[in-house]
Symmetry: C2
Amino acid sequence: MTALTLESRGGLARAGRLHTAHGDIETPVFMPVGTQGSVKGVSPDELTAAGVQIALANAYHLYLRPGAPLIAAAGGLHAFMGWRGSILTDSGGFQVFSLARLSRVDDEGYHFASHLDGSRHSFTPESVVALQAALASDIAMVLDDCAPAGIDEAQARQSAERTLRWAERARAALTPSVQLTFAIAQGSTYEPLRRMQCRALRALDFAGYAIGGLWVGEPRTDGIAMAAVCCEELPQEKPRYLMGVGTPEDIIECIAVGVDMFDSVYPTRCARHALALTSSGRLNLRNAANARDLRPLDEQCTCLCCRQFSRAYLAHCFRAGETLAARLVSIHNIAFLVQLTRAARCAIVEGRFAAWHDQQLSAFAADRKG
Amino acid sequence: MTALTLESRGGLARAGRLHTAHGDIETPVFMPVGTQGSVKGVSPDELTAAGVQIALANAYHLYLRPGAPLIAAAGGLHAFMGWRGSILTDSGGFQVFSLARLSRVDDEGYHFASHLDGSRHSFTPESVVALQAALASDIAMVLDDCAPAGIDEAQARQSAERTLRWAERARAALTPSVQLTFAIAQGSTYEPLRRMQCRALRALDFAGYAIGGLWVGEPRTDGIAMAAVCCEELPQEKPRYLMGVGTPEDIIECIAVGVDMFDSVYPTRCARHALALTSSGRLNLRNAANARDLRPLDEQCTCLCCRQFSRAYLAHCFRAGETLAARLVSIHNIAFLVQLTRAARCAIVEGRFAAWHDQQLSAFAADRKG
């Protein structure tokens, strides 16, 4: 069975249907992040009500705590988290790279000390396949060799080549399963490397492909350009997932170059800083103007937060240090990005994506100026 | 209209129905506390699902922030908070007493500096009536002169006498309204004072009566004894509210002496410290034994938390610093105290309160030993 059914196109933008063991997912899709098995402050029921079809969790974090054996004993990550939708687990390469006290990366894999207790561990392409099989996520990611922004081409080539060798090993370690496995394309901001990496990974025939190593500090236009290059090289009939993106603007622009899947902590992190995403741009609940405003965050939004609470109430709760505020705005911000990707899908299917794209971008550009 | 219809008795314990502008409330009743207009971490929908009929808010906090004019403009506290059940507002005397930088208390009222910004304010019996009318709560409390534990009888008498004079002024300031107003009995741990205070307040014919100034540091047995004394003196046909209580044991014992209404931050505060209330006693989610326990908190509980999540998941979320954990256990703990008061009511109506009382107390006593 193919993972993606492509339903419609609008320029390079695509509307599809991604098939997982926990149901079909309409793409383009935004995936909220539950790093440690909980989307910060938001319950599974609220994710469902916000229209979320698939959530992320992180294999590195869950491996260290509470450990894969407990999650397997609970019946897998879905049962453990109480979430009936689909789950994508990130392999943990990026977290080892950014969080752990990394002692060594070599051709075998990562050798690191836990950021929690300093205990020593290794991640190999094979062990990470087994780990995610135990977690029983719907989509697993291969281990990749993450590289920081601003590296030279030789370093980027080395990282891409190791990522490819690890992908080959992960491919060989896969056993027949309902779990889909995605490879990850590295190559920093070097177009020839990105093209070579995508072509080589494509030949390995993974269920889907992720574009990694972007939005890590390089100029935003480089990120979008590299996403576009990868989308040119990746197979049409497979899902494409741009890791760690993002903001409404980034999502809109990367749907336009052919990306299907996005994940980011942006909506929940913004919410904890009292920042709401709305159809007329960003809204800071700590601004005095909102303290007496009895309208909902977004009059066009039908989320739980907008149906029941005013800007004034949310602003009061933020000022009063009530955790309900961050939770309600998290729900809204997630619902907003879900609705944004749905609206993009609708525009693609109805043949008006270009106009929709321009109109949406201008709402957020105006907000940035204001 | 009378505020309370008494339906059944079991010894001194009472089952009744309290009539408010937002519906009838079955008593005995536990009221969770939303000091600043939000029960910490729990949404109004979750309160409803937990069986909550009435929630508390605090006039002192809401007066300082966001201010009564904004809440009145929003259509009252129910609309502002998004809560359709009943609301009792505490007058704020206790908060002025415990939180504010109190500059002076005299016969006129409290003169204090805000704990938020140091701004100067006064609360009088009349201003507090008007404040709670603007908040449009279902039940308002008069301003009382709170006294700390351990004061001598002369000081306690002075506090009780001032409380009585203030109650008379509040009574005179009341205008016809659907809002019920309760007087508050002071008198520290001096039985004659408590009796005198209750008789004098009773003559003022308030809609209901609160027992204040207990559980502020005195021995627990004194608190229960004083609650019993007050219940002897207060009118049978009016509701009795014991302020700031409490734990399961305290609630059970005070229902037995004739109290109808309870409020406390105990269930939400416990939850933030990873402590769950269960039918077999307290359960500390930071204990290693719970980290691998895939059972719900309480197998007899039907709350949202127990229906969906295991002890192991909650323990993981506490360890991982995920705010979802405190929220879920808050929901459970509130539901537990609501179910406890419901079970008490059922036992009273069915003529088996004494046996129920003994059995429940022993479950929590065993837990304290263990």
